[in-house]
């Protein structure tokens, strides 16, 4: 049923056009309703295609298969949540909405890409508008926006250079070229191109040392953009990494697997150890988000089907945990509650918010029965089954280290009593509840998601 593929393209264009219209009529509520509806429709269509397990190509550039549909579902769903979060937070919602629609298109294009150029374009399309989304909030936000812009320029130059290097060997720039022509494996230029890919994508995937911009930008940007960066952009980068690298990891030199292992280890330690001394909760979560990227990289480094499945599962898990957490942080930020000291007594001010944040943090640590536990369980078992026991051990050690700073926040929230209650807005409340349901429900019954990622990984491997 090829119609479904065209429906996705049509919905994407519809979203962009409606946002352009929104800039002129400037009716916030209508714009929110329109973009949310389109995102819901996108999610529904992709879920339908995922269910049907279709596999074909649309317009010769976009692939419809279980892998792409799974991530179209994830992206449209998480973007929907971020859209809801941004409604109250943005001073200029229609402009935000226009930029946001580009991000949506970029993310979905990466998910469905069938060539390297499409992937690079998609990544660029998600990162650049994000920089502008930061800057439209006012003068105070110039600095993080410019940092993001400069760093993304560096990264995209790497990516483009990588594409150029590969062109002589694979003029179609399709992902299949590598496999079709195994002779190119040993070429220096191809190796160079691949490592530039790793570097360029690691910028967005937050792998050390390409991630140094992250704490500044995460902290400087409004929390809804931080949620976007951490909940969607990072996932987009990992999807690109899965698409480009995974196929190659299986077929090319093992050095790339070793490279990813090294990046995973350094990133986990860097994120967790620096987070230990952070005092501001948003910055703390920025570092924690870095360390989580390290965990996801474990599954890619394992270079096996189980590894890909676990990485994909953890992408889902992390998206829900981090968006939920940032939603609460966003709400507290707008009430001038920022540092760990100011979180004191939060449980007495709004016990449901404190409870939800605690659940998200426990899930990030990897405590059962939440989704994070299943995700980490899968990741570590994939490492073990790929004979990387030491990598799993380092992952566990890092989880233990992370308990310290998460517990600091939890203890602070549940000690002391503050009189003034805090009330949460409806849209943020909805986002938090959806994330909470996802974190608990998938944690208790991960069966369907695991079987979905396993179908998706089959497509990826068959590619």
């Amino acid at each position: 049923m090829p119609d479904i593929g065209y429906a996705i393209v049509a919905l994407m264009s519809l979203l962009v056009f409606s946002s352009i219209g929104g800039v002129f009529h400037r009716k916030k509520t209508i714009q929110l309703a329109a973009s949310s509806l389109i995102l819901v429709a996108l999610a529904a269509v992709s879920a339908c295609a995922l269910y049907l397990q279709d596999s074909y190509s649309v317009l010769g550039a976009l692939l419809i298969n279980p892998f792409s549909m799974l991530f179209v579902l994830l992206f449209s769903f998480t973007l929907l949540l971020i859209n809801l979060l941004s409604y109250d937070r943005s001073s200029d919602y229609p402009s935000f909405s226009l930029l946001f629609s580009f991000v949506v298109v970029g993310a979905l294009v990466v998910a469905m890409a069938n060539s390297i150029v499409t992937i690079v374009l998609g990544i660029e399309l998600t990162v650049l508008p994000t920089a502008f989304m930061i800057i439209i909030n006012g003068k105070n936000f110039v600095e993080p926006a410019v940092k993001l812009f400069i760093m993304s320029a560096v990264s995209v130059s790497m990516l483009v250079f990588a594409v150029i290097l590969i062109y002589p060997y694979d003029p179609a720039l399709s992902l299949m070229g590598y496999i079709a022509n195994p002779g190119i494996a040993g070429s220096y230029l191809v190796m160079l191109s691949l490592l530039l890919f790793i570097a360029g994508i690691s910028f967005d995937a937050a792998l050390f040392p390409f991630n140094m911009w992250i704490p500044d930008v995460y902290q400087g940007a409004p929390a809804n953009i931080t949620a976007l960066l951490s909940g969607v952009n990072k996932k987009v980068a990992f999807v690109a990494m899965l698409e480009i690298l995974f196929v190659l990891l299986l077929h090319l030199s093992p050095i790339f697997s070793v490279m990813i292992q090294a990046l995973a280890v350094i990133t986990m330690f860097f994120g967790n150890i620096v987070a230990l001394v952070q005092n501001e909760v948003k910055r703390l979560f920025a570092y924690s988000s870095i360390s989580q990227a390290g965990y996801i990289a474990i599954g890619i480094a394992a270079a096996s089907q189980l590894g890909v499945e676990s990485s994909m599962f953890y992408l889902f898990a992390h998206a829900f945990m981090i968006i939920g957490a940032f939603a609460i942080i966003l709400w507290l930020e707008s009430n001038n509650v920022r540092s760990i000291q100011e979180y004191r007594g939060l449980a007495s001010r709004n016990r449901w918010a404190a409870l939800c944040l605690t659940v998200f943090m426990l899930s990030l640590i990897g405590i059962p029965p939440f989704i994070g536990f299943i995700g980490k369980f899968l990741l570590f078992s994939s490492a073990i089954s790929a004979n990387l026991v030491w990598l799993a051990a380092i992952g566990v050690i890092n989880s233990i280290i992370s308990v310290y700073y998460y517990a600091k926040v939890i203890i602070s929230m549940y000690s002391g009593i503050e009189k003034t209650p805090l009330k949460m807005g409806t849209s943020i409340g909805i986002v938090v509840i959806i994330c909470l349901i996802a974190v608990v429900a998938i944690g208790l019954y991960p069966g369907p998601l695991i079987s979905a990622v396993s179908t998706a990984s089959n497509t990826l491997i068959a590619m």
Binding site: V146, K147, I150, M151, V154, S155, M158, G186, Y188, M191, L192, L195, L196, I198, A199, S202, F203, F208, P209, F210, M212, W213, P215, D216, S253, I255, V258, M259, A262, F270, I273, V274, A275, L276, V277, L306, I374, F377, L378, S381, S385, I401, Y404, Y445, P446, G447, I450, S451, S454
Partner: protein
């Protein structure tokens, strides 16, 4: 889907109990109805569809399938399910009379319903995953129920003691399940266990789990303390749920223990528990603790034939014990209720005045002592004949049965003493009808349950078979019981003064205060204390090391902090350095 339906009414009742927190009046009836519904479903399964199964794919991970599955196909499991389903409504009915404080009821029935449901789930589970879930649920709810009256002096301590012991078993079971799943490549029950290597370890861990749950030596201490819970809980816990789960785990995992050493371990632990149970029951003054020690003995008696591979003998006692122990606890509860909470058998008098309570208690005691034709006799007889080939074990069993008979009649006779000064108060009349009826039902069951051994063996009755008929052994059981009755009569009824003078003698001193067993505990405890001291010394070093380590880790965070100094050019430099390092790595490999 049929088996899973069994637990649905109870879980629904549990939820309702929570919802009706502020309006507790109907909760007790809802719980009773739910338990009756469960009983009806179990009856339907037994009659029409004895091999019903239900399974639910939780999630799959590689080759491991985490399946939650239940089934009543195994006759053993169906038997346990039936026992639980019969006892539950009786306990709930009894609770209506016993738990007469309205504000306590929602919490009580919530915990009881979950407790009963988890035992039923345990009975039906056919995968190690389901087993583990049910096992944990049993542990947690039993902790809540033992500490139910958390405002009383000893209840929290008792509950803590119980949960500490039980968690040892939980961890052991979890490890055993992991080992088994890895060795077998799945979560099914072991069918043929080679007792070597890791499976031997899994067997030991399984046994530790079983011993903690069944309160067997050396993990038996929590059970007598668990008397701090409400009496219906004790009656439930000792007859069909919780402690029976341990023995049943041994039955389920029997292929795993098919090595000499493990069977020997089961035998030794069973014997030790029997001896500990009998000696303590002989000297305890607490009307419920005597029964608790008696339970430890009963469970030991069930383990002993298992060590000889005689499952049927164990099951026979397993079956009859549920009824007489529930009956005895209900009688104890009624006596306590009639005496306004007095639990010392030396301070309770005139219980003979309430004819119904007395007669039901008498039936229970005659049954546990082993008089023909009450059902208890068949259990004792089956166990005895299963081990009669081994003279030493048999001799100890006979002695233990003599002890059983003595202590249980002591338990009956002492509260019966007439004391005109002692007002029984509202006494006999204050025991409500809801507490009398279940006792009568159980008394009838105790009287006639033995009929099942005579019925043709089909369906669930396959599990209840008497392997042999040996008149001599049957006579021995009766003779020993009679001897115990006579001794108890002479000592505690006729020889009141003799008994009191004996109070100061050396023999009694040896038994009293559990000198011997206490000595053993003390030795074990002091051993652990010594280990603890050594650990303590190590610990202070360890503390210092971990402190330094964590201090350094946190400080290293401070060291890494200047790396992120807000300077974008530094970040670009970092980026470029990263690319160069990666390039160097590739070059190193290629060249």
């Amino acid at each position: 889907m049929l088996p899973i339906l069994v637990v649905v009414p109870l879980l629904a009742a549990a939820v309702l109990a929570l919802l009706l927190r502020n309006n507790p009046e109907p909760v007790k009836y809802i719980a009773l109805l739910a338990s009756l519904a469960s009983l009806a479903i179990v009856a339907y399964i037994t009659v029409y569809n004895p091999s019903a199964t239900a399974s639910f794919d939780w999630f799959n991970l590689g080759s491991y399938q985490f399946i939650v599955s239940v089934s009543t196909a195994s006759t053993y499991q169906l038997l346990l399910l039936i026992i639980v389903a019969i006892i539950t409504p009786l306990i709930f009915l009894y609770s209506i009379g016993f738990m007469d404080v309205p504000s306590e009821q929602p919490r009580y029935y919530f915990e009881m319903c979950v407790f009963a449901a988890s035992m039923m789930l345990f009975a039906m589970s056919t995968s190690l995953i389901t087993l583990l879930i049910a096992w944990e649920m049993l542990g947690i709810t039993s902790y809540l129920l033992i500490g139910f009256w958390y405002d009383r002096e000893h209840a929290p301590t008792a509950a803590r003691k119980a949960i500490t012991t039980i968690i040892i078993g939980d961890v052991a079971l979890l490890l055993a399940v992991v080992i088994l799943a890895t060795a077998q490549g799945g979560f099914q029950y072991p069918v043929a266990g080679a007792g070597t290597g890791v499976l031997f370890l899994a067997g030991i861990l399984m046994l530790i789990a079983a011993f903690t749950k069944s309160a067997q030596f050396p993990f038996h201490e929590w059970l007598s303390d668990a008397m701090e819970g409400p009496t219906p809980v004790s009656a439930f816990l000792h007859s069909s749920t919780m402690v029976k789960a341990g023995v049943f785990l041994v039955i389920l995992m029997l292929p795993l223990f098919n090595t000499t050493y493990l069977l020997y371990l089961i035998l030794v632990v069973g014997m030790a528990s029997v001896i500990i149970g009998v000696t303590n029951a002989l000297v305890s003054r607490h009307i419920k603790k005597i029964l608790a020690y008696s339970t430890i003995e009963d469970l030991g008696l069930m383990l002993i034939p298992l060590a000889f591979g005689q499952v049927y003998a164990a099951l026979a006692l397993f079956f009859v014990q549920a009824f007489y122990k529930a009956l005895l606890f209900m009688s104890a509860g009624s006596i306590i209720k009639a005496n306004k909470g007095e639990e010392d058998i030396f301070k309770i008098f005139n219980t003979g005045q309430s004819k119904v309570v007395f007669i039901t208690a008498l039936i229970g005691t005659l049954s546990i002592a082993g008089f023909f034709p009450l059902s208890g006799f068949f259990g004792k007889y089956a166990v005895g004949s299963a081990v009669s080939s081994n003279v030493a074990v048999y001799a100890i069993l006979v002695l233990a049965e003599l002890g059983t008979s003595v202590y249980i009649f002591r338990w009956l006779f002492l509260p019966m003493r007439k004391n005109p000064q002692h007002e029984i108060g509202a006494g006999a009349n204050s025991v409500p009808l809801t507490m009398i009826i279940p006792a009568i039902v159980l008394a009838v069951l105790v009287l006639f349950a033995a009929i099942v051994f005579a019925l043709p063996h089909s369906g669930v009755l396959d599990a209840l078979v008497l392997q042999s008929t040996n008149t001599t052994e049957a006579l021995v059981v009766n003779a020993v019981a009679a001897a115990g009755l006579i001794i108890a009569y002479l000592v505690y009824v006729k020889g009141n003064r003799f008994y009191l003078s004996m109070n100061n003698s050396h023999i009694f001193a040896a038994l009293n205060n559990n000198a011997i067993t206490n000595g053993i505990y003390l030795a074990i405890c002091s051993m652990f204390l010594h280990v603890g001291k050594i650990m303590g010394m190590l610990d202070s070093d360890f503390d210092y090391t971990t402190y330094r380590l964590s201090y350094n880790i946190i400080n290293s965070g401070k060291l890494a902090k200047p790396l992120i100094n807000g300077q974008t050019n530094n970040y670009v430099i970092g980026f470029v350095i990263g690319v160069l390092v990666l390039a160097a790595a590739v070059l190193y490999v290629v060249i």
